[in-house]
Subunit: 244 residues, 2 copies
Amino acid sequence: MPRFFADKNNISDNNITIDGSDAQHIGRSLRMKIGEELILCCDKIDYKTKILSISDNEVCCEILEKSPIISEPNVSLTLYQAVPKLDKLELITQKAVELGVAKIIPVITSRCISRPDKKGFSKKKERLNKIALEAAKQSGRGIIPQVWDILDYKTAVKSLKEHDFSFVCYEKWGIPFSSVVNPLDFKDKSVGLFIGSEGGFSESEIALCEEMGIKTISMGKRILRCETAPISAISIIMALSGNI
Amino acid sequence: MPRFFADKNNISDNNITIDGSDAQHIGRSLRMKIGEELILCCDKIDYKTKILSISDNEVCCEILEKSPIISEPNVSLTLYQAVPKLDKLELITQKAVELGVAKIIPVITSRCISRPDKKGFSKKKERLNKIALEAAKQSGRGIIPQVWDILDYKTAVKSLKEHDFSFVCYEKWGIPFSSVVNPLDFKDKSVGLFIGSEGGFSESEIALCEEMGIKTISMGKRILRCETAPISAISIIMALSGNI
């Protein structure tokens, strides 16, 4: 059965309305008719619905059943990603959403080669959020993880520190994820994960993280590309927390 | 210090010869001179060497020091990958090598959309092995993992079964990696990992694996793309075996 994300504001007691490109997709591409059934998802709930009316701009559906979504991980993982080249950030966004992150926050660090300002990043953010939406649909997520505005390094570290667990991956030293936590520790907790760009982190950046109590993690003895490290680290956190 | 892989046949007691495109690269691109030092790697050993002579076709080096490479994982992991579209197989090859696989064996399964025969695959294999070589150089591997010829499903399953541990990842059922093995179990063992193509495996393919004693692994409740699954599974195996 086709599945779409619905906007919270378009959900009433009995009905859900779908507008925009999804409405067009339902009517024109899928050629769905009144009376056919759709799954509409919002905020970790799947609504089984029946189409009441279809136009090019709007599809109105009646709610038949509600069920909580079981595909969301029990850990809320935020990826703080030092900004790499755009194509790499696109790959990271797609894979991070598939693997279960809650949100992605791009960060400018001292060694970022690509250094867009907030304004310059707004179009890219739009594109990245489209990729996140598509990945959320494809992988059966219960939320649409958002790509946020760019943060500077210091603001990112302060925000990272606010999670129940906070990690920074570094190629020069660190301990493995598996030595940090017991799998059960992660349950229903928030985790912040900071990954460097192509040039990695400077020692003073890592020193600041460590001063703030953020754990430095080693990703092993092979040098991972900056787009491999987050995919690998998220996989490991999800496995250690019982979500893979 | 620049680092290149050397051919076993080009190593004598005191000298190592580099030929082909690497020789050109050393002379023309890096503009290295006689007396300068190079790291040459072969079969998990790094040789610190000094250049004795340079021509366009050949660089001859004197061995100064030998040291075993510590970047190789203590588990020998073979990826059996059902053939996806070529660009995905390229990404999988690059990431699998970075993350530490020993070799990659493409397999034709019932749901492969891309179904090259052995002959048709030979040019692709050449390209994939170039990608593997570059990834091995970049990530500091001690071996160059090879992409093998395509196997049919039944031959692949027989070969998979010969490993100390053999796993097949399946989206419909299975247990998590973490419930299968104690980290210490993996040490110095061989692991075979079978991952599906875009269409996944058929139930009868999984049944055959299970009959052969191959463990079915679940990669969690989100649906991973066929290129995400191997990257994620390899990361988890390397983390569980203490190699990340």
